[in-house]
């Protein structure tokens, strides 16, 4: 009975430990899962007699979709079965033909029609959600934000061939290519009048972007309304700066695809910074403007996705993240993410070429129309597309960056923000902090352990060992507090003194020791062997005091009165008050007892007959120490260092409080850093459960967990091996 109870209890504790590891995997693994998609429904084109589809759109709950047609009609239908809800005819002026069409942007859910008389009409589709009898009912309707009367775009009344429209808070901008080859920019600003219901209260300006723009095939205007891209039949893109609506400026022209290929689909990525270009070879290429040294913005080829062989026929973008869907002539649809450079899924959605493709607002469904007029409605599960091995550990060329970089920036106020989840800067910070901490801790703790285990008198050892071990128990929050609020300002003020101290201390100690050895024997024997450390305490204090007292003088003579400004101005080294030096000292202090305690045990455990033999053969104590004892104990010291390293890597509070927590990659001792652990402590409470950010933070914790676990296991195995060896000696 007791056996069973204890057995069950014991095993459950062991299982609990395993559970930690498994739970981490359970949270982290979904990050790397590809997307999956299932066909839900397929039906013939709803309201087929309303004309050819120009644009498809879905509302947020993926219940209703809308189809805007070439005959100027809007057909609303149920997504599940294709049943038509309503068919509305747009108020077209008499005697005009539809010559241009543009989907405005996915956030305002609007489209624009251009007509043969140089006018245009903007239509918005919106959905009202009501809950009669606790059941959700969605009612679609059309709105005309700029009025039902078409806006005059071209004063010459030439037919509009291509159209691009974007609306801001009080302004609407239209770019249009006319049939006679002109490129126009029209801006409508709401006038500041008190009767703003007045329709005539729009101030209209027209500017000519190009007199002879050629055969414009694609025309795009971004949502900030600062740039226009016009792509002509020769695959050449013209990049216009339209910040000044009255004086647009051609920035540069560039060929987007090589000779022999043809552009077959063009779309902005969410945020309208990147341009996606699909071509006849089946590749999709991402371009965005990159600033060069002279401050010019040049459209640059960033990366390409080549999954298809057949020409790309349609591109659709996800809302709120940098992903897109591409369809090709063979009926395949691929799901991609630009930041993660991932191809998440490739599925054959239709047996024919796909003509139209749209992604649901929540990126959980897609709707495709094929050449034969068949609609295909699919559900999509695609939770974490932006995370990949390359986006976590490689350089990524983020939008608006001048070159590929390692960046950690997980959140921002903007909706179209591209999360930058590179673990490299924070891993680097972890290694940097651990490196400087070990630099401080290793010499002190190992030398200290050597002395304490081998040279120190027994009585003193009984006091010294527990005192240093109590250091390990000091809460790190207190060390961090002292490091951040006391040590950091102190170091900043006494920088030259601290460096003098570092260089002065070893020779100073040797000098004091030498002088002591020259004293008459009577004085020397007053203090027995093994008490040197006590003797040195006043010496160390004196040297420290001297170095610190000399600090202002040194600063005056060598650094022009202020070493900090000297560093910044003369050496070009940036100086943070809370820097790696502070972390190195504070965390070094925290790690010393760990290394000291284990190393001391290892050295003390070396069998006495070994050292006695060496001494008997005439070796000096130090030779015995160095050649015999240390050699035997070296695996133990190695394991002590490993355990110290494990602690330095995982320490949270000290780095959190003693650094500025800036995720920069810079090995300078005067710069701050951010470590994996501090990053978790700072960001975890604010991250949304099961979001990508949350899982990436779990991944960071898993990395820490595995690293320390492996390091500690190696240390432990080495130690056990050593113990066996000692017992055989």
């Amino acid at each position: 009975m007791a056996r069973l109870l204890v057995g069950a209890g014991g095993i459950s504790v062991v299982v609990a430990i395993l559970l930690i590891f498994l739970y981490f995997l359970y949270v982290v693994l979904p990050l790397f899962k590809p997307a999956n998609a299932q066909a839900v429904a397929s039906y013939t084109l709803p309201g087929a007699d309303a004309g050819r589809t120009l644009h498809l759109a879905m509302e947020e709950q993926t219940e209703i979709a809308v189809r805007f047609t070439a005959d100027g009609k809007a057909v609303f239908f149920h997504l599940s079965d294709g049943q038509v809800i309503s068919e509305e005819t747009l108020p077209l002026p008499k005697g005009v033909e539809i010559t241009a069409f543009s989907a405005i942007d996915l956030h305002h859910e609007a489209v624009a029609y251009g007509f043969s008389d140089g006018t245009a009409l903007v239509v918005r589709h919106s959905y009202q959600v009501t809950f009669p009898d606790d059941k959700r009912v969605i009612t679609p309707r059309l709105e005309y934000p700029l009025g039902t009367r078409p806006i005059v775009v071209d004063d010459n009344r030439a037919a509009l061939k291509k159209l691009a429209v974007q609306s801001g808070d009080d302004e609407t901008t239209l770019a249009a290519a006319t049939a006679d080859g002109r490129l126009l920019l029209v801006n409508l600003a709401r006038e500041e009048s008190f009767n703003d219901e007045d329709e005539a209260g729009l101030e209209r300006t027209v500017a000519l972007m190009a007199e002879e723009a050629g055969d414009v095939r694609y025309l795009l205007l971004d949502q900030e309304r600062i740039k226009v891209y016009a792509i002509d039949a020769q695959n050449e893109l013209s990049f216009y700066d339209v910040r000044d609506k009255q004086a647009p400026e051609l920035l540069h022209r560039i060929f987007l695809v090589e000779k022999g290929k043809e552009i077959t689909a063009v779309q902005f990525l969410t945020g309208d910074i990147s341009l996606l270009v699909g071509d006849s070879s089946g590749a999709v290429v991402q371009w965005f403007p990159v600033r060069d040294e002279r401050g010019n913005h040049n459209l640059t080829r960033i990366r390409s996705f080549k999954t298809f062989r057949a020409p790309i026929t349609a591109l659709a973008i996800e809302r709120g993240r940098k992903g897109f869907y591409a369809a090709d002539r063979s009926g395949h649809v691929g799901i991609f993410n630009t930041t993660g450079e991932r191809t998440l899924l490739k599925a054959r959605v239709a047996s024919e070429a796909i003509r139209q493709l749209v992604v649901a607002p929540r990126a959980n469904a897609m709707l495709a129309e094929d050449k034969e007029g068949q609609l295909h409605f699919w559900h999509v599960h695609n939770e974490h597309p932006e995370v990949s091995w390359s986006s976590l550990w490689g350089k990524v060329w983020y939008e608006s960056y001048e070159k590929p970089a390692y960046v950690w920036q997980s959140t921002s106020a903007s909706n179209d923000f591209e999360p930058k989840l590179s673990l490299v800067p924070i891993s680097f910070g972890t290694i940097k902090a651990a490196f400087y901490a070990m630099l401080v801790a290793m010499p002190l703790s190992i030398l200290g352990a050597i002395y304490t285990a081998y040279f120190m008198s027994t009585r003193m050892r009984q006091v010294v060992k527990p005192s240093i071990e109590i250091m390990a128990a000091l809460p790190t929050v207190i060390l961090g507090f002292l490091a951040g609020l006391w040590l950091a300002p102190f170091l900043e003020k006494n920088l030259p003194g601290i460096f003098t101290l570092l260089f002065l201390l070893p020779p100073g100690i040797v000098l004091v020791a030498f002088l002591w050895s020259q004293l008459p024997g009577k004085v020397r024997h007053a203090i027995p062997d093994g008490w040197e450390a006590v003797l040195l305490i006043p010496a160390v204090l004196l040297i420290s005091w001297g170095a610190l007292a000399a600090s202002p003088g040194i600063e005056q003579v060598f650094f022009g009165g202020n070493m900090r400004t000297w560093l910044t101005n003369e050496m070009g080294i940036d100086f943070d008050q809370r820097n790696a030096l502070v972390v190195g000292l504070a965390m070094g202090f925290a790690v010393i007892p760990n290394i000291f305690s284990i190393a001391e045990d290892a050295i003390f455990g070396v069998p006495k007959h070994l050292s006695n033999g060496s001494l008997a053969l005439g070796a000096t104590p130090w030779q015995t120490m160095w050649r015999v004892v240390l050699l035997t104990a070296s695996p133990g010291i190695f394991s002590a260092i490993m355990i110290g390293l494990g602690r330095a890597v995982g320490e949270t509070m000290i780095v959190l409080m003693a650094t500025g927590n800036t995720p920069v990659i810079d090995f300078s001792i005067f710069q701050g850093l951010r470590t994996l652990s501090a990053n978790i402590a700072v960001e975890m409470p604010e991250s949304e459960v099961n979001s990508t950010h949350y899982r990436v933070l779990f991944l960071a914790a898993l990395v820490l967990f595995l690293f320390t676990f492996i390091v500690n296991t190696i240390a432990e195995l080495v130690r056990q091996h050593l113990r066996k060896k000692y017992s055989s000696l």
Partner: protein
């Protein structure tokens, strides 16, 4: 000659021995230096500093300031000259003081940096008074008069004598107000919230019959009735507390009236004798340990943080003791000592080295969101979408720390078990006891000091751990203690305050770091004392234990 001596000495290897001795000295100096720093800064916080009235000349302007010196530093004169400050040509460095001027409501900030050369006169008038206030920090100045309802009651010398009696009255009133607000009204609010949830339960279970609802409504009305009576008595108390006020004069001669209900303590530091100061010191220490925080934790006491830490650690002990003991007994006494057990032992050992933040992440994900979320779904559907256990809280903090300290307890207990001589066990078995009886009656009692050592170390570690708690349940200011007079008395779902987090929060995230720093040192001192004492205790027990078994073996 000296060179030859040195070479000879060098060849003996002595410099290296001395260098390694130096490393020990440096380590010792660092440990005791840090402890000393914390002790000095932490203890100094409560000592009433002398109030200085000084004349400060800044350019042509002369101002009179009253306050306390906090810190001093030497600044190179060149640096100040570069900033456009005129100094005598021969001066190399200037002493600069951090001067606490208080009176934040009048002056806008608590502290000023003063240059020693610009101070033209210093006095220490005995009549200077410190008013510790509930808001706006200390007020430094002269006591002019005491007023009641706008009429002067006492003036000048007599005012200070009159003050102490009236202040006692005001403090008593404040105590009554606090009792009503915190305890009585708090209890009513708690009951009202329970009633709301009861009603929601009825609705969810479809048992919201009119009778049942009417019953609840009746209870609610009764509570509201009680609330109203309390409210009226509160209003009278508040009015009463507004009668008494003091008129203070600040350094510039401006007068300011302060209500006595806003005052916590009054004293004249310059007129105090050493014994007075000692008494003052002790009351301040007492206040620090037993009182609630004021002014966003930067003043007053840290009682909720102490209480939170203690409760959390105690609950953690309840979890970790049985688990640790059973695991250790299993590993040492029952499991077959093979490769698997050795692997498990190494794994357990290594868990002690896993960074604490990793446990925090696990606790947040597994305990709070997964377990807590499920518990809410099953047992507290009435409160949803507001989470009950699906949010960081006391229970999850304790569990996370229990997991974190489990390896410590297992390792210590195992060590204790392994030290028990075989002969003792065999003796018991030979006398006819079963293995379970031997374990329960002989082995465990003998191993209990080792278990105690492990537990003490676990408690010491848990008390100082902050990083995981930041994720699973610690807040800067908890509205209520986790233990109170409302059933079920111990509220495991509440958030808690913690000494270590208090240090982090007040030291780094408070808007007025300069003013809060002494308090942080005091908190840090308390924490260090607790942890060092616990560790020394553990070391003592371990040593005694070793002695005991040595005699047994012999």
């Amino acid at each position: 000659m000296a060179m030859r001596k040195f070479t000879k000495w060098y060849q003996s290897g002595a410099p290296w021995v001395w260098l390694s001795a130096g490393a020990v000295s440096i380590c010792l100096l660092m440990v005791f230096g840090i402890l000393l720093l914390i002790v000095m800064r932490g203890m100094g916080y409560f000592w009433p500093g002398e109030l200085v009235q000084l004349t400060y000349r800044d350019g042509a302007q002369e101002t009179v300031l009253v306050g306390e010196f906090q810190e001093h530093e030497q600044v190179p004169a060149a640096q100040l000259r570069a900033a456009g400050i005129e100094l005598p040509a021969e001066q190399k460095t200037v002493q600069r003081h951090l001067f606490k001027v208080g009176n934040r409501d009048v002056l806008g900030q608590d502290f000023r940096w003063l240059l020693d050369t610009h101070i033209t006169a210093k006095h220490y008038p005995a009549e200077l008074v410190v008013l510790e206030r509930r808001e706006w920090g200390n007020f430094y100045g002269y006591l002019k008069a005491i007023k009641r309802d706008g009429n002067v009651v006492a003036e000048g010398e007599a005012a200070y004598r009159e003050l102490s009696g009236r202040l006692d009255g005001a403090l008593k009133l404040h105590g009554e107000i606090r009792t009503i607000e915190k305890q009585q009204i708090g209890a009513i609010n708690y009951s009202l919230e329970r009633l709301r949830l009861d009603r929601r339960v009825l609705e969810l279970e479809g048992e919201d019959t009119p009778e049942a609802l009417a019953e609840l409504e009746q209870e609610r009305l009764a509570l509201e009735e009680r609330y109203k009576t309390l409210q009226t008595s509160l209003v009278t108390l508040y009015q009463e507390s507004k009668h008494d006020g003091v008129v203070m004069q600040d350094a510039n001669g401006q007068e300011k009236e302060i209500l006595l209900s806003q005052v916590v303590r009054v004293y004249q530091p310059n007129a105090m004798s050493v014994i007075d100061k000692c008494r003052h010191y002790l009351t301040k220490v007492w206040e620090f340990v037993t009182d609630e925080p004021r002014e966003a934790n930067t003043e007053g006491g840290i009682f909720p943080a102490i209480f939170g830490t203690v409760v959390m650690v105690m609950i953690m002990t309840v979890f970790v003791t049985p688990l640790g003991v059973i695991a250790a007994v299993y590993l040492r006494e029952y499991a077959r000592q093979g490769a698997l057990t050795r692997t498990v032992r190494i794994a357990v050992n290594n868990l002690a080295g896993v960074p604490s933040i990793v446990y925090g992440v696990f606790g947040l994900g597994f305990f709070v969101y997964f377990l807590g979320g499920s518990i809410d779904q099953l047992f507290f559907p009435e409160a949803l979408p507001a989470p009950t256990f699906g949010t960081p809280g006391l229970l999850w903090s304790s569990l996370t720390l229990a997991l974190l300290t489990l390896p410590v307890v297992i390792v210590a207990t195992e060590e204790g078990l392994s030290r028990i001589p075989r002969s003792v066990r065999e003796g018991s078995l030979a006398l006819g006891a079963t293995k379970a009886e031997t374990l329960w009656r002989i082995v465990l009692p003998m191993a209990s000091p080792a278990l105690m050592t492990g537990l003490i170390l676990a408690v010491a570690r848990a008390a100082g751990e902050v990083a995981p708690l930041m994720l699973v349940g610690v807040v800067k200011l908890a509205p209520a203690l986790p233990l109170d007079m409302n059933a079920p008395y111990l509220h495991l779902d509440r958030k808690l305050m913690h000494l270590g987090f208090h240090v982090f929060d007040v030291g780094f995230q408070s808007p007025n770091v300069e003013a809060a720093r002494p308090l942080v040192y005091a908190t840090a001192l308390l924490l260090v004392v607790v942890i060092v004492v616990l560790n020394l205790l553990a070391i003592y027990i371990r040593n005694r234990l070793r002695e005991k078994y040595r005699t047994l073996e012999g």
